[in-house]
Every structure is written in C-alpha cells, then in structure tokens.
C-alpha cells in the first residue's frame, strides 16, 4: 500500500551569523511499509522526527532524499495536478483540534472541501449529503451550519476525521490524533478510528508518543530517536521484548496503574538530552554504551523485526 524508502530530511539550524554551522537531522534513512488495513505506529519523544516523517509522507514537506511509494506510484516528486490526484488516496488527521479547522468556515464547507476537489461531478446537495453522512458516522450531528468554535476538542477531532475520510482515502496519516484530548475522549476517538478502519479497510500511519494508545491501536511499531529508527517490529515483540535501550526506557517510563507493577525507579532514564554526532545517536544517553558505540553506527538489519544497536538487550 504505502512504501517508504531511505527518506531523509534535515533542517538548517543557527541564525544569521552561524548559518549552516549545524544541521538538525530530523529524519535519516527511514524505511517502512504499510499494508492494507494495518496500522503502523511511529513512536518517539518530541523532536524525534516522527511528525516530520508523517509530513513528508503527506507531501506537506519536501524530502531531501528517498522515496514515498503509494499504490506502486512514486509520489515523492509529483507536482500540481498529479500531486492533487494522489492526495485523494492519502489523507491526514492533525494533532491540534483547535488549530486544524478553519475558524472562519462552516463545518459543512470544511468537510465538503475535499469533495469539491476530488468529486467534481457531484452537485452541491450530493456533496452536502455525503459530508453529513460521514459526520454522522464519526458521531457529529447537526454540525453543517456551525463554526468550529462551537464544538469541543473531541468533537472537532471527529470533524477532522470526517473531513479526511469523506474523500474515501486508502491511507490515513494520524499525527498524534488523540494527544490533545482528555483521556475519556481519547478512548472514544480511538474506538471510532478502529471502527472506521475495519469498515473501510483503511491503513493507518499512527504517529504518537503515547505508548498505551499505540499498544491499543497498532499492529506494528517503529521507534524513532533523533531522526533514526532505532527499533521496529510487531507490537507484541517490541512491547514484550524491547531490544533497544531507548525502547526499554520509553516502556519503563510509562505510567503504570497497578501498584504491583509499579517500579521503584526507572532504571535507565538518563538526564542528558544530548544527541551524538557520530556513531550511535543514542550512546550519550545509553547506560550500556561501550567504546565502539562511538565509532560504529548500528544499522537496522532485518526488515520486519529490527534493532539499531550493537549490543541489543
């Protein structure tokens, strides 16, 4: 369905006098593939490049190198009309429900926007009807004539989902779709997403920092640190047998509800925020780092279950 090969992106850092002195590598050599009706989660701390990857896949951000292949079509360099055509198959739900809807546009118009572009043969009432149906399916009623500020965060997120799904995409990129919502609302939206997935055979690229949510929705998971994929595998493998020290740290840092499983302290949390310039990116924070971690860059080897560490746990 969706294949990504060797995707790279770096941003220039530094101001007027120090330009080009440092590049922030937001994504380095990202490979993954997403099957039909499956969910691939990208997890990592903020700044790890997971949203950058999502945006490059969406073609909202131009990749420095690499390929994005959708339905066997390379979409990395499409422009204009060709780019617009493929957008019908890949849509996105954004993180902030308060920023992702046009405040000056009625919900009806916002949700029909995609239909205007991709289904020009529909007339206005047909478009409105489809939009209203999709909104209803997402659990929002009587919204067509209202403005975004009249809705709560959870409802707005549902509207965002309806807007993306009304054009009947195959792949949905979800950029932290529930992290701005209350926990009780999160569950509702997650359940809605799961229902919609099984109903429409959607593939989800699910970007999140919330491991509990990821465990709930995803089939496969990809852990990113400082622009690198450090571990990848099925949810079960990665959550039960994390091999990369960073994955282990993330899993240990999860809040645990049951007192029995509560740990005394998080064994391998490190205060350093530094990212290594050479060798393994994680070595400055890694409690198990050895000398050759500084010189050798660990690479992901296998395709389905991989870990980028010289000394996996």
């Amino acid at each position: 369905m969706l294949k990504v090969k060797g995707l790279c992106k770096s941003f220039g850092q530094g101001g007027l006098w120090t330009s080009n002195s440092r590049l922030l590598r937001a994504a380095v050599d990202i490979d993954f593939h997403l099957e039909k009706a499956k969910t691939l989660a990208i997890v990592g701390e903020s700044g790890s490049g997971k949203s950058t990857v999502a945006r490059m896949v969406m073609r909202l951000l131009h990749a420095d190198a690499g390929q994005v292949v959708l339905n066997d079509q390379d979409i990395t360099h499409l422009k204009g009309t060709a780019l617009r055509e493929i957008r019908r198959y890949i849509q996105m739900v954004f993180q902030d429900p308060f920023a992702s809807l046009n405040p000056r546009m009625r919900i009806g118009e916002t949700v029909t926007e995609g239909l205007r572009v991709f289904f020009p043969h529909l007339n206005k009432s047909e478009r409105l009807e489809r939009a209203e149906k999709m909104l209803a399916k997402c659990g929002v009623m009587d919204a067509m004539q209202r403005y975004p500020h009249q809705f709560s965060g959870g409802q707005r997120q549902r509207i965002g989902i309806a807007r993306a799904l009304v054009v009947e995409p195959k792949v949905l990129v979800l950029d932290e779709p529930v992290s701005a919502l209350d926990v009780s609302i999160q569950a509702q939206v997650i359940n809605l997403l799961k229902e919609l997935q099984s109903e429409h055979d959607l593939s989800y690229l699910f970007v999140s920092h919330d491991l509990s949510v990821v465990r709930h929705v995803a089939d496969d998971v990809m852990v990113m640190f400082a622009g690198h994929v450090v571990e990848r595998g099925s949810i079960k493998d990665v959550f039960e047998h994390p091999k990369h020290p960073y994955t282990k740290m993330l899993l240990d840092a999860r809040p645990v509800t049951h007192p029995k499983y509560r740990q005394k302290d998080i064994s391998i949390a490190v205060e350093v925020e530094a990212v290594a310039e050479s060798g393994c990116v994680y070595r400055l924070r890694c409690p198990f780092a050895k000398d050759d971690c500084a010189s050798l860059e660990a690479r992901l080897v296998t395709d389905d279950r991989g870990v980028a560490c010289l000394y996996p746990l």
């Binding site: 909202l60 055509e85 957008r87 992702s100 046009n102 546009m105 926007e113 991709f118 807007r163």
Partner: protein, 266 residues
C-alpha cells in the same frame, strides 16, 4: 475605557459620514453662493459658522468639504487596500524569491517621504480630486502589504492550512477562503487608521493648493484662504481646523480600539 473609546469614536465617525452624505440637504446655503453684503461675518444665527472673504456660508462649505475629505479617505484607502492585499498576499503565499522581490519593492516605497513623493508626482499631473485619491492610494499600500504578508506567513504553518493543502485545495481558493478571512482583521484595522492619514494628507495638499481646486470647497483649501484673515476672522481657520482634528482623531481612536479588540481575541 476601551469600550467608551470605541463607542464614541464610532458614533463620531458615523455622524461625519451622515453629514457628508446628506450635505446637499443639510447645508443652509449653496456653498458657491457669493454674497458681497456678508463678507467675513462672524458666526451668527444666520450663518452658524460665519462667512468667508467672498461672503459664502462657511457651514455649507464645510459640509461639502467633508464629502471631499471622506471621498478621498475612502477611495484612497480602497486603492491602497487593493494594492497592498494583492502584493502582501502574493508575497506571503509564494514566499522565497517572489516574497523577497516584493518586500524589497515595499521597502523602497517606504523609503520615500510620502508627502514629497506625492508633491513630486502632482507636479506632473493636474491637481484634481481624482488624481489625489489615486496618488495617495498608490503611495500608502506598504503597511497593508507588510501586515498581510506577515499574517499569511504565520498562517501557513497552522494546521488548518496544511489540512486544506492535503485536501488538494487550489492556490486561489486557499488564499481567498482560508488565508484572507483569517488575516484580514488586522489589515482592516490598519485601513481605518489609513483613512485618518489620507484625510490629513488631502487637507495638507489642498492647503498647499495642490489638491482640490477652488472654488470647490475642501477643509484644506478653506484653511489656505483663512490664513490671510487669521487676526480678524478666527472662525475661518477654527472650524475647518476643528473638523480635520475631530475627523482624524475619531478615525484614529476607532482604529486603535478595533485593534485592541482584534488582538484580544487572539
């Protein structure tokens, strides 16, 4: 306090507009009517604001002058809005080289002292109210362009714009349905402030004899006339001066309090 400023300035602005629009019905005399018997008479029940050196009724001339001032204000600002919105929108939407070129052009325009630029241009054209409107409009769009560009640039990173982009919304629609409605608030506020500037500019030009030509009345050219009689006909400079002061003040206050309102929402 702000509420008070908004309400009072808005009512003054409305009052001035009404007075200007209904000038032909409100003015007690024909503004061009010369009455030799009534030369330089001080304000009285007959002539509320007195008469000028040709015995014309000052109140009537001022009401007609208000039409000129407001027409210049609105049309000039309309032109500057149009030019500024076009340039700012293109620069803010396209970014990169186009933005750089347009903004350097804007900076160049800002470098000229507007008043002297207008004087220079008028020297080549015949001074008429239409030329004044066009020239003021074409030399005062820079603020609007910069403001709109800045708004566009900050909006470009907002998620709803990216959502629209990923829905394949075409550039023109993206500009007029997404970017403009969300950016226009501060721009309109600055346009209202611009009206005050244009009114002042027109008065200045007419005062120098480069704006509205006598015998057509304008606040500026009434003042020109009045300066010769300053010692013994105070009303000739007092009333048009007050009219300019109140108008400019009202528009400025209206603009400022609307600006506070727009900012507070953000």
């Amino acid at each position: 306090m702000n509420d008070w400023a908004l309400k009072s300035s808005a009512s003054v602005v409305c009052l001035i507009v009404v007075l200007a629009v209904f000038a032909p019905w409100l003015s007690p005399y024909d503004p061009q009517d010369i009455d030799v018997a009534m030369i330089l008479k001080p304000p009285s029940w007959q002539h509320w604001c007195g008469t000028d050196s040709l015995g014309r009724d000052l109140l009537s001339r001022m009401l007609y002058g208000a039409r000129v001032s407001l027409a210049v204000g609105f049309v000039a600002v309309g032109i500057s809005l149009f030019v500024g919105v076009c340039i700012g929108a293109v620069a803010g939407y396209m970014r990169g080289t186009v933005d750089m070129i347009l903004m350097r052009l804007t900076d160049m325009m800002l470098c000229f002292p507007t008043f002297f630029l207008i004087l220079a241009v008028i020297a080549f054209l015949e001074p008429s109210i239409w030329n004044i409107m066009i020239i003021i409009g074409l030399t005062s769009w820079m603020g609007v362009a910069r403001l709109l560009r800045a708004e566009f640039l900050s909006l470009r990173d907002r998620e709803f714009i990216q959502a629209a982009e990923s829905l394949g919304v075409k550039p023109l629609r993206l500009i007029y349905a997404y970017l403009l409605p969300n950016a226009i608030g501060p721009v309109l506020v600055s346009a209202i402030l611009g009206i005050a500037g244009a009114v002042l500019l027109e008065s200045g030009l007419s005062f120098l004899g480069l704006g509205v030509q006598p015998p057509d009345p304008s606040w500026g050219n009434i003042l020109t006339e009045s300066k010769d009689y300053l010692e013994f006909a105070w009303w000739l400079s007092f009333y048009p001066g007050m009219a300019i002061l109140i108008t400019v003040l009202a528009y400025n206050m209206l603009g400022e309090s609307l600006r506070d309102l727009v900012d507070a929402r953000k």
